[in-house]
């Protein structure tokens, strides 16, 4: 029984150590994405998650005793040997095993770039959420959105010119950074109580700005 367990542990940890490491990294990233409250921490978790997958792919391409996938001088298509034989030659099967597999590297170049693009976009979203709601914590954002939805669901008295729960106004007017209201004496760099923006008076949605001015954190 102990022999089986030791064989199992040997197989898992010693001969396939790289796979264990990448699984642990992946789980750390996944947990951060789901459980953390702050949006920036979620994005860091996303980055760790994608890096773990990249590590996995690159470790597929490893061959024991092989060199990097760039031709050595004796196989170089523009080298002396190729010049002597009048053109580059295809490699034999034994020579092939002395080079590492280039395909996972190529795939991961693509995956890294895609990951960077997603991260850039997600950071832009964080910026816009912070400009609009003044917080990047998930629970505070949820509370503010609930308040906004509840206020827009109240029975409407006037038929025209009111806002629905789906704001269709241009967001430019909302994001204009005019003088803030509710700025206390010591402006902290903290998440929510830092800046409060007044909504520039727009044709619709005056009720929401009243509510925003009303509650202070």
């Amino acid at each position: 029984m102990f022999e089986d367990v030791s064989i199992f542990l040997n197989e898992l940890f010693l001969e396939r150590l790289n796979y264990v490491i990448y699984v642990v990294l992946l789980l750390i990233g996944l947990h951060a994405m789901i459980a953390k409250n702050n949006f920036i921490k979620k994005l860091i978790g996303m980055s760790i998650f994608q890096t773990a997958i990249i590590l996995f792919y690159v470790s597929i391409g490893v061959k024991e005793g092989a060199t990097i996938p760039i031709y050595l001088p004796e196989h170089d298509p523009h080298g002396e040997q190729a010049y002597a034989t009048g053109g580059p030659e295809a490699l034999t099967v034994e020579q092939v095993t002395s080079y590492a597999n280039p395909l996972p590297h190529v795939l991961m170049l693509t995956a890294i770039v895609v990951g960077v693009a997603t991260l850039g976009l997600a950071l832009a979203l964080c910026q816009k959420i912070y400009q609009g709601y003044g917080t990047v914590e998930e629970d505070e954002l949820m509370a503010k959105l609930e308040k906004e939805d509840a206020s827009s669901r109240k029975p409407k008295t006037h038929p025209a010119g009111k806002s629905s729960s789906k704001p269709e106004v241009s967001s430019r007017a909302r994001r204009s950074g005019t003088n803030s209201v509710g700025k206390t004496t010591a402006p902290q760099a903290k998440k929510s109580s830092g800046t409060r923006k007044t909504k520039a008076p727009v044709k619709k949605a005056t009720r929401k700005s009243d509510q925003k001015k009303g509650d202070s954190k």
């Binding site: 992946l26 996944l30 994405m33 949006f39 979620k42 996303m46 998650f49 994608q50 997958i53 996995f56 792919y57 597929i60 395909l103 996972p104 795939l107 693509t110 995956a111 895609v114 693009a117 997603t118 976009l121 997600a122 832009a124 979203l125 964080c126 816009k128 959420i129 400009q131 609009g132 709601y133 954002l141 959105l145 906004e148 029975p155 025209a160 009111k162 629905s164 729960s165 789906k166 704001p167 269709e168 106004v169 241009s170 967001s171 430019r172 909302r174 994001r175």
Partner: protein, 521 residues
């Protein structure tokens, strides 16, 4: 030109996107014509490819990017695009919906996101490129890159709206990235065991190698790929991102994304199950075909019930999307010929009817400034054409003949009966009842004089309490009305000519042995 038509399907929107971003910086007005022309060009290229596929001997057109043809180079050296009947049908739906929404989007984009047309139209056209590419590709890693193209443009298109849309998009980004990365991980597991990324190459390797089907890596690869795709198609309970994201998106965005994105992901699942893993691996070597029908039942019932609880048109429609996804996943996993036919036909018809509904909802929103139920009184006299188009879509979702929804539900129920999967059939019928309630309640609400809080606004005898001014005929603009009416016409046409489509689907499903196949064809 004809032999490169598959490349032109992707290149027209790509060039259109780049041109409209370049020229749109100088003059915003030039973006819409470029958008419509590129979508039209892609649609024409799609029709040409369909004709080529139907005329070719084994109903398949293969295109190798980079010229690495299969006679001189091993399979998988280049990137292969395989257009068989299923792929080209779904691609045509994507391109058709794209063309429709491109025409429709002229006014909503100008009103909701002014000054940003030279960002909207490139993202719009690149979304069409991504979705069309997903349907045509034959390489598993290329599929990941195209999924990310479609996803990133989707995030951009949704978040371009208000700040509320940005808050909803963040959740979508997190969940969408988890889904796509799980898919990528699954492809990695396939690669480590088979050594190739080409879909047909993987299938050949699985068939040729002994013992690969029982390998734990392959089983987990299947689980990861399916899990990733289920997150991206908003299968309950992984659907949390969909209602908020599609509800708060700008009008033209939700008209493009809602009919297409989830359906294309169901196509990916069908492709993985049939082409990559093969019928005997997917259905017999894994536990999924016994577990999934029950999950599907929970999904359909919960989505239908949640749709019933909504008081706003767009949110109700998003929950209907989740229910329809449940139908299609169930159709695949009951492991039956008719179920698969029904599922594929439902992809086609559901795209068209969801398009109808969302186009109509956009017009209603623009006219009434709200989509809440009590803001819609008197719409039948005010906008009769819009309401006709909207309710053609609605009746198709319920499943009334001669709309296409009736025929797709017919095939799904037939599949459930032949496979003796009674729970799925009961869920289908229950949700159909719920949808009947939903749409007829909407009709009643529009005709009724009593508003949500119970006060009676009319003076009896059918009077709705509205002035003559409020019920005067004032329809939406032509660029928005023509796409809606043509979408409604397509819904009816697909229903009336459904036998043509089903014949094509049956030709596609011929080489796969699914149980329940009819003995006489």
């Amino acid at each position: 030109m004809m032999e490169n038509s598959i490349a032109w399907i992707l290149l027209f929107p790509l060039f259109g996107a780049v041109l409209s971003s370049l020229l749109g910086m100088a003059n915003r007005k030039v973006c819409w014509p470029i958008g419509v022309l590129s979508a039209l060009g892609a649609f024409v290229a799609g029709i040409m490819t369909l004709i080529r596929v139907i005329d070719s001997p084994d109903h398949m057109v293969v295109y190798l990017f980079g010229g690495w043809t299969l006679d001189s180079f091993p399979r998988g050296v280049g990137i292969e695009f395989r257009a068989d009947l299923l792929a080209i049908l779904i691609t045509l739906i994507v391109l058709g919906v794209g063309l429709c929404v491109a025409i429709y989007s002229k006014l909503p984009v100008k009103e909701e996101t002014p000054g940003k047309e030279h960002f909207f139209y490139p993202l719009f056209l690149l979304q069409i490129t991504g979705l069309a590419g997903i349907c045509l590709t034959g390489d598993a890693f290329n599929l990941y890159v195209l999924i990310e193209v479609a996803a990133l443009t989707g995030y951009g298109l949704i978040a371009m709206g208000s700040k509320r849309a940005a808050a909803a998009t963040f959740n979508y980004v997190i969940l969408g990235t988890i889904g796509a990365s799980l898919y990528l991980l699954g492809v990695g597991y396939l690669y480590i065991k088979t050594g190739t990324l080409n879909m047909v190459g993987i299938n050949e390797f699985i068939g040729a190698t002994e013992g690969l089907k029982e390998s734990s890596t392959m089983q987990v690869a299947f689980v990861l790929i399916c899990l990733g795709i289920l997150i991206k198609m908003a299968f309950f309970p992984l659907h949390a991102w969909l209602p908020n994201a599609y509800c708060h998106a700008p009008t033209a965005t939700s008209c493009l994304l809602a009919p297409l994105v989830t359906k294309v992901m169901i196509y990916v699942m069908i492709r993985m199950v049939l082409t990559v893993f093969g019928v005997d691996f997917s259905f017999e070597s894994t536990l999924w075909s016994s577990v999934l029908p029950w999950l599907v039942v929970i999904a359909i019932v919960s989505a239908a019930v949640m749709a019933l609880a909504q008081r706003e048109i767009k949110r109700m429609l998003t929950y209907l999307i989740v229910a329809e996804v449940g139908y299609m996943v169930g159709g695949v996993w009951i492991y039956n010929y008719y179920g698969m036919v029904g599922s594929i036909f439902h992809i086609i018809s559901d795209a068209c009817m969801t398009l109808c509904l969302f186009l109509g909802a956009g017009l209603i929103l623009r006219k009434c400034k709200t989509t809440r139920f009590d803001g819609l009184r008197g719409l039948f006299s005010k906008m009769p054409l819009t309401m006709t188009g909207f309710f053609v879509g609605g009746f198709s979702i319920i499943g009334l003949p001669p709309t296409c929804g009736f025929f797709s539900k017919w095939y799904l129920i037939t599949g459930a009966m032949v496979a003796e999967c009674w729970e799925y059939m009961v869920a289908l019928l229950f949700s159909t009842m719920v949808m009947v309630v939903l749409f007829f309640r909407l009709i009643e609400r529009i005709h009724l004089a009593v508003n949500e809080s119970g006060e009676n606004l009319g003076k009896g005898h059918g009077d709705l309490g509205l002035t003559k001014e409020q019920t005067r005929f004032s329809e939406g603009p032509l660029t928005m009305l023509v796409p809606l009416l043509s979408a409604a016409a397509v819904v009816l046409a697909i229903g009336i000519y459904n036998q043509e489509f089903v014949n094509l689907i049956e030709i596609f499903l011929d080489p796969f042995d699914l149980p329940g196949e009819p003995l006489i064809k």
